[in-house]
C-alpha cells in the first residue's frame, strides 16, 4: 500500500490562534502522509481541526494571531515557505479542493461553463477552452454540457453543483484532491453517485484524495488509510480495515459505538459521554481523558506518546494495550 511515493507530507503541523481567552491550539503537531493515487481519510468531529488542516495544505488559513508552523510538502514543494506567486500556481493545479456546500463555492452570477473555463485559462494553455469545458462536464457526468454550460449555479441541483465543483477541481489534473465533507449537504443516493464518480476519476487521472469527513461509513467504503483526529491531535492512524475493525484508541471505539447500523440488531448504543472541550481550555494530559471510560491518573498527568500497535497502525493512548 505504501509502494508509491508520498505526494503530501505534513509533519509537526501546528495552527495556533490568539484570542481573548488565550492561545487556541486548533491543530497541535500533526503528522500526515498521502501517497500517489491513495485515498486517505481524516476523521473527526466538529472543532477537531480537520478542516483547518485541509486549508493549511494550500496555506489558506487566516485568522487573528495566526501562527502556522511545522512543514507541509506538496509534490516536493515546501508550502509554508513558498513565495505567494508560486503558491498561486500550485493551488488549483497541483492541489485542489472541493467543499461541503457547492452553492457557496460557486459564483451565483457567472455561468458555470465560464467558471470552469476560468480555471483552465489561469493554469493551462488550451487552444479550445470551450471544448475542454465540455469535455470536463462530460467527464463528471453533467448531462447536455453544450447547453448546460450556459446555465447559472441556481439552475442545478446540489448534486449537480457538486459535479461542477469537481469539474473545476479536476480541470488541471491535480496530483491531490482535498475533499472536505464533499457530500455532507447532499442526499444519500446522491452521495453514493458522487463517490462512485470520484473513485472512477481517481483511477482515470491517477490522483490522490484526502477525504475530510465525520462519517465513518464513508471512510470504510472509500479510503485505504485513516487518521482519527481529536482536539487538534491525531489519536489513531492506520489502514482503514485495521483501525475500524480493531480500533486501539478509546475515542475511535467510542465513535464506532455511536454510529447506528442498519445491518446489526438494534442494541443500545453507548455514545461518548460529555462533549468536545473548548479549544482555548483543553484539558491537561490526554485531551480525551474527561470523556474516556478508561481514564486514570496517568491520563490526567501526562499526554501519551504515539505508540505502534502494528506496522502502520499508531495510537496515542496510555492504556491501549489493556483494552480487550
Amino acid at each position: 500500500m505504501h509502494a508509491s511515493l508520498p505526494i503530501l507530507n505534513v509533519s509537526n503541523l501546528k495552527i495556533y490562534f490568539s484570542s481573548e481567552e488565550g492561545i487556541i491550539r486548533a491543530v497541535d503537531g500533526i503528522d500526515l502522509t498521502v501517497c500517489e493515487n491513495e485515498t486517505v481519510a481524516l476523521v473527526g468531529e466538529s472543532g477537531c481541526g480537520k478542516s483547518l488542516t485541509a486549508l493549511a495544505l494550500a496555506r489558506l488559513v487566516t485568522g487573528p494571531g495566526l501562527s502556522l508552523t511545522g512543514s507541509i510538502q506538496v509534490a516536493g514543494e515546501d508550502i509554508l515557505t513558498l513565495p505567494e506567486a508560486r503558491l498561486r500556481a500550485l493551488r488549483g493545479a497541483t492541489l485542489s479542493y472541493i467543499f461541503q456546500d457547492p452553492a457557496a463555492s460557486l459564483n451565483p452570477v457567472q455561468r458555470v461553463g465560464d467558471q470552469i473555463a476560468e480555471v483552465i485559462r489561469l493554469h493551462r494553455k488550451v487552444p479550445d477552452v470551450t471544448a475542454e469545458v465540455i469535455r470536463l462536464m462530460t467527464l463528471v457526468g453533467l448531462p447536455n454540457p453544450e447547453s448546460r454550460r450556459k446555465a447559472y449555479p441556481h439552475e442545478f441541483s446540489g448534486g449537480m453543483q457538486q459535479r461542477v465543483m469537481i469539474a473545476m477541481a479536476l480541470a488541471c489534473q491535480p496530483r491531490i484532491l482535498v475533499a472536505d465533507e464533499p457530500t455532507t449537504a447532499l442526499d444519500v443516493t446522491i452521495q453514493a453517485q458522487i463517490f462512485t464518480l470520484l473513485s472512477d476519476l481517481q483511477l482515470q487521472l491517477k490522483m490522490a484524495v484526502l477525504l475530510i469527513t465525520h462519517n465513518l461509513g464513508l471512510v470504510a467504503c472509500n479510503a485505504a488509510r485513516v487518521y482519527v483526529m481529536y482536539c487538534g491531535r491525531i489519536m489513531e492512524s492506520g489502514p482503514v480495515e485495521e483501525v475500524l475493525r480493531h480500533p486501539a484508541h478509546p475515542y475511535t471505539k467510542g465513535l464506532l459505538a455511536a454510529v447506528p447500523r442498519l445491518n446489526r440488531p438494534v442494541e443500545r448504543m453507548k455514545g461518548i459521554e460529555g462533549s468536545v472541550p473548548h479549544p482555548a481550555h483543553l484539558p491537561a494530559g490526554c485531551r480525551f481523558h474527561p470523556r474516556c471510560p478508561l481514564a486514570q491518573e496517568a491520563c490526567r498527568q501526562g499526554e501519551p506518546i504515539i505508540e505502534s500497535v502494528k506496522e502502520g497502525h499508531n495510537v496515542r493512548c496510555h492504556y491501549w494495550k489493556q483494552q480487550a
Binding site: F195, A220, V259, R261
Partner: protein, 260 residues
Amino acid sequence: MPLLEATGVTVRYQGHDDQGRRQLWAAVDGISLAVAEGERVGIIGESGSGKTTLGKALLGIEPIAQGTVLFRGANVHGLKGRALKEFQQGAQMIFQDPMGSLNPRMTIGAALDEVLAVHKLASRAERPERIKALLQQVGLDTDYTRRYPHEFSGGQRQRIGIARALALNPALLVADEPVSALDVSVQAQILNLIRDLSEARGMAVLLVAHDLAVVNYVCQRVLIMYKGRVVEEGPAQEVFKNPRHPYTQLLKASVPDPDD
C-alpha cells in the same frame, strides 16, 4: 382509536412548471398514517420528499388542501381556543437546529418558565422545582437555568429543546431531524434520550429523518416517502432488512456502512 390519524393529507404549494407557468404542486400527496399511543414511527425521505411538510401538516402548523388529521378524534385543522391549546400541549415538536428555536436573549430558565406559565401548568412558586426536574430528565445540570442558549453546545441545546417540549407532558413528540446537526458522539446520547423518554412516559414519537439507521434505532414502524407519496411502509426492522420498493432498496444500498 389511534392517538393520531391522518387520512389523505395533501399539501399544495404554488410553483412553476418548466415553461415558467404558475402551477400548483403537491408537496404531500394524499398520505394516510396512524400513530398509536406510545408508538414510535419514522418518516424517511430525502430533501424535497415532503417529510418535513407532512410533519408540520400533522401538527396543524401547515394548512392542508385535502384530507383530515385527527388527534384523539378531534380535527387538528379546525381547532380553536381552549381545544387548540389542549392539542398544542398534547403534541409538541423539536427541530433540527435547536439554536434557531431558542430565543437568544432568554435564559434557559426563563424559556422553560414561560412554557409552564402560558399553559398554566404550575404556579409561580412551583415552577422553579418543575424546571429543575425537567432539566434533570434530559440530563442537564439543574443550575444551568441562568445561562443563555449560546453558552451551550449543540447537543445540550437539543436537550433544552426536548425539555421544553416535555414541559407540556405531550402524548406525541414530532422530532424533525433532531440529530442531523449534531456530532456522532452526541447523536447517540440524544437518540437514547428520545427512546428512554418515550418508553418511560408512554410518549408517542414521530421521527422525521433522512438517516435510515437513526430511524431503525428509534422507531418500531417506518414510512418511506418519495416525491410527496409514501412508497413503502411497515415494521422498521422488516422494511430495512427486506426492502421491497426499488427506491427503498436504492436508499439502503446508498448508506455507507462502517462495518463493510
